[in-house]
Amino acid sequence: MSELTTRGRRVRVVATFACLALLVAGTFFGDDDHFPFGPFRMYASSPDPDGDAKDTRVEGVDVTGKTIVITESNSGIRRAEIEGQQAAYEREPARMARIAEAYAEHTPGAPALREVRIVVRWHGIQDARPTGTWTDEVVADWVRP
């Protein structure tokens, strides 16, 4: 068996506890910005069991009038990334021109988008179960000037 030197052992123990301390601190006081030591906050919120559930999508309307759902595969931008920056898009809809650009870049040959909008579909929830009903709300809309 090969044993560690006293120093090798000490360095490893210190590194272990230092990282663990950062991770625990991140869990209690940090946020996503502190990656890789931020809190493991996937699905950590407590939405109202009788509140509507939000299902966001991004749509584009091309110059032929066709509506296209913007996805990771046709724009290179993930839905969660657009949601993560949703407030910025709402404040400044012109920012959505970037989504149209990303779509043009990732879907060469497709007709250009003349409109991009973020639509939230609110699904009804009752007793923590989906009711099967929904309404759509446009939260940000950009039309090519």
Partner: protein
């Protein structure tokens, strides 16, 4: 005593198999599991919102040249590292590049939480030095590498439970969190489950109980440990079957709990006596 536990020796062969699994996964992650990271090569630069680490270091705003250079370098280096050759040089190179790859991935408004164990594995594997598939001699450095990967894997559960209590509070267990998740990304199976009264709430109790109890894996008798790991994997099978979240890098890091050296014995047994003279390990 804690030091002895942290560096409890393991067979070199186990680390050798773990190393190959981890580096092969880096390759697969780039091309199969998270191909969207590469798409950030031509995401407009002003959508880049660097994480704290990206601002501190400070890392450059991704350009097509940067993203594609890292992509191709990682493809080549990860396969080279998977052979077990030059474990320190290749290991550190893969760790640094993959870490930067992940910082790019998480800097566009969404941070994923499925790969802390995997990042820890990449960070510690270079410290083990040379290992071979057939070398059953024990190593403390390898024992530490596997142990800290295991700890990071369990942190992903245990600290996730604490994050739920911090962010969602105790009412998390009776909230609409799973109903919301199913509406966003539910499969047909999930839609069938979602309508059963109370089932999602029971699942939420189950999830937080399992996450809070997960550290017990370190104290259960060895003969039960593989069953506990099997239970962890089954949780992810259920998650994938209902909301298509795979946690793939986490699943790879979790192999650090398994007696991987048995892969060698299995393949040798299958190969029969002729294998006795052929070495499966590159030298």
């Amino acid at each position: 005593m804690i030091t002895r536990w942290l560096t409890e020796p393991v067979p070199r062969s186990r680390v050798a198999f773990f190393r190959t699994i981890v580096y092969v996964f880096v390759f697969l992650d780039l091309v199969v599991f998270t191909p969207w990271v590469r798409a950030h090569a031509n995401t407009p630069g002003d959508l880049y919102q660097p994480l704290m680490i990206g601002r501190l270091l400070p890392l450059p705003t991704p350009t097509p040249l940067l993203v594609n250079t890292i992509f191709w370098a990682l493809l080549v280096l990860s396969l080279a590292a998977a052979t077990g050759r030059a474990p320190r040089l290749l290991g550190w190179a893969v760790f640094i590049l993959y870490f930067e790859w992940m910082i790019i991935a998480m800097s566009y408004g969404k941070v994923d939480h499925d790969r802390i164990g995997f990042l820890v594995a990449l960070a510690v594997l270079p410290t083990v030095g040379r290992t071979r598939f057939r070398d059953q001699s024990l190593t403390e450095a390898g024992g530490w590498a596997l142990r800290v990967t295991q700890i990071a894997v369990i942190c992903t559960y245990f600290l996730a439970a604490l994050a739920k209590l911090r962010i969602g509070g105790l009412e998390w267990v009776t909230s609409g969190v799973l109903a919301q998740a199913i509406i966003r990304r539910g499969t047909e199976l999930a839609d069938m489950i979602a309508v059963v009264p109370g089932l999602l709430i029971v699942s939420q109790f189950g999830i937080i109980a399992f996450e809070l109890l997960s550290p017990l894996i370190f104290v259960v008798p060895q003969r039960w440990r593989n069953w506990v790991v099997a239970f962890f994997y089954s949780f992810h099978v259920a998650t994938f079957a209902t909301i298509t979240i795979s946690f793939a890098p986490h699943l790879i890091a979790m192999t650090s709990f398994l007696p991987l050296e048995r892969i060698g014995r299995l393949t040798r047994r299958r190969a029969g006596s002729s294998a006795a003279t052929a070495d499966v390990t590159p030298d």
